[in-house]
Assembly symmetry: none
Homo-oligomer: 225 residues x 4
DNA sequence: CATGAATGAGTATTCATTCAT
DNA sequence: TATGAATGAATACTCATTCAT
């Protein structure tokens, strides 16, 4: 998981390398978030870490790779955070609520992380798939299984799985971005509840729903109907 | 054109100013989107416009102001685009579908515009409310009236108006960003339909919906319940 | 004395050319003095004069020539000022007092003029003998005659004429520069008296003067001894 | 040189900093004098020193500070030069001669130094008291004591001390400036003697001096009369 | 004659990266 | 291994001058 460490000569304190790598990353995350990419001086990062500038370059071959590694660390921490909150065997629909709440809470607690994801996209658009999309794709499969089960157990209407993952994902990422940018004042809980309410029940009234018959779903799960 | 004006000398081509301002803006939008803010050389912009660098600075006092004006132009065009598509007197719920579709289509047609909004947020976070948030707020009132009417006519469940505007707005902006970033392959129409389906009907089955009773809404419209 | 004026076509208002030339020069003197050479924008000069930038270039072929003409105007005005004060047939030694006082008063009244002379020297050292040296040389002859007469009439000790002109000239220019730079607080009259006192009587006491016998002068006037 | 310092890595050559600072300053003095402030390219200075442009900025934070430091170095060298020439215990009046001679010789040997003082005044008039005035004021006290003693020992006529310091100072600075500007051809010794002659004995004849009674001095020493 | 729109040469400064020690 | 001194590429902006009208 850590950068490739040169390994000639006397072996160093085991773990020092990794601990310092993470220390650098955490400091870099904050500084990049505070100052932006160009505004974050490598000298300043080195100062905050308490090492020489040259040492930084022993851990990361360039400022860019440091930045990208920082963005990656953000996503790994997000993953861990959500896993931690949802691991338990609670009701599946409740788990969705919890996951959405945990997601929003994570970025609310660490605004710097949101900042980093935005920066990454803006600055390195040509060079790399954004870290957060990579992670999204990595988890898509898990979520699709999760949703499929709910459909099979007839708790969720049959509909294309990718519609579910995509719409929900776009919604919470959009919410996160907007929260971060505009400093939304509403309580996290309220906000999460609002999202879940609409996603679960839709906005239409009973009668209107009957009139507007849900479009028949077209993908894998259509056979279930 | 050559009456005895008090100011002799080279007369200004009336309208040239505005035409050129827009021309510069359009070229700037593309270049900023292509190269990013720092990568977009003022010289290159001038070259593409076909004027000297100094002339650029007659129209915009700095690169930053040029960029910000470009972002503003994007939002004004978005506004005009959606207005154009939805002006007609069609069914209100259909109008929602149309507006969502128009929104996504706009950025699909002009990926550079999406790019600009992201850049703006990343680079000028400290200096300015993002242009797109400004426009969002400007329209919030209109949409809340729109939703209130639908609630009054019992086509939409009673729920806090800001929940409606916020969730839908976050969803479509999140979708737009993600589309732009990941190059989503699905057809625009399908995508819009998917969003509308979930927003309108929610994801739960009939039985599940009854079990999970929608949380009673807390705002202005709660009295309607 | 004015710049070479193009003279084809309809002859203009006689004198307009010269009047405007002087007007430009006076405004330029002030602006150069206020802002320095680079800081003085040609646009600003044009604005203050109330003409277009292009018009300036009809009067002076370049910014540099405008500046040099401005410096020249300063010296011509100095000349006129001193002539005016000393023209009358008063006692010769008193005339010296008056001339020195008038010189200092001139620059005290017009600090911008002093500024210009300093600027000229600093900026155009390679290109041109400073205007004020030109004027100094032009007047040297007159002053040498003046001093010779005083020596002949045994009112001034016999000494090389160039020593007189040089030392006195250096003294009053040095005083003028220093006054301008440091904002000397002493009254003009007192200052002029102090200079004259030392130049007329020297600083030594009677006894000391006898001990330090004045060095026999070595130039033209030595024969008088 | 390689003891176990807490700071490993490339050690600083002790003294290199100071040596190079002076080297940069000397080269800057020459280049500024040759080309003027704007004409002196930072790149050219770096080239002449034989370092990269960036290195220059490690020593001086800006071109302006480099210039000002150069001017300051000139005055410190002037100070040292005059101190060196006058330190000995010779007759006080002779010391004055020597100091004046040393002053003029200094700038005659280093025309670039005179140039710098003029430039400084012209370019940074708003920002800073000219370096040479600072040094003048610093020495004023010493000279006033010196003169007071001469007055007490009745070698100099009683007169206000500031008249003495001011007139002599203005005279030698004025001479220095004019020498530099006009390239005076007379020998330094002759010139210094001429100044001393007039300052010591004044220009009037014996009889005339009696007629023009020296104005009674007005300050501290007036009581001595 | 007068104008002012258009031009583009010219330059200080920053900061990621290297590498001698 | 760690350091930080040295480097130099890279770039926005100004303003004197021109010339079409």
């Amino acid at each position: 998981m850590s950068s490739t460490k040169p390994n000639r000569g006397r072996p160093v304190d085991e773990g020092l390398w990794d601990r310092r790598t993470d220390e650098i990353l955490d400091i870099a995350i904050d500084l990049f978030a505070e100052r932006g990419y160009n505004g974050a001086d490598t000298q300043e990062i080195a100062n905050r870490v308490g090492v020489g500038k040259g040492t930084l370059y022993r851990y990361f071959p360039s400022k860019e790779s440091l930045f990208l590694a920082a963005a990656d660390r953000v996503m790994r921490r997000l993953q861990a955070h959500i896993d931690e909150k949802t691991n338990e065997q609670i009701d599946a629909l409740l788990q969705m609520r919890v996951a959405i709440g945990a997601f929003l809470a994570f970025f609310d607690t660490h605004p710097a992380f949101a900042e980093l994801l935005i920066l990454e996209r803006a600055l390195f658009r040509d060079r790399k798939t954004p870290t957060y999309l990579e992670h999204r794709e990595k988890n898509r499969c898990r979520w699709e299984q999760f949703y499929q089960e709910l459909i099979d157990r007839q708790r969720i209407r049959p509909m294309p799985l990718d519609r579910l993952t995509t719409v929900i994902s776009d919604l919470i990422y959009g919410t996160m971005f907007t929260n971060h940018i505009s400093g939304r004042e509403k309580s996290l809980q309220e906000q999460a509840d609002g999202i879940v309410d609409i996603v679960f029940h839709g906005i239409l009234t009973e009668e209107e729903r009957i009139r507007q018959k849900p479009e028949p779903s077209s993908s894998t799960s259509s056979s279930l109907q």
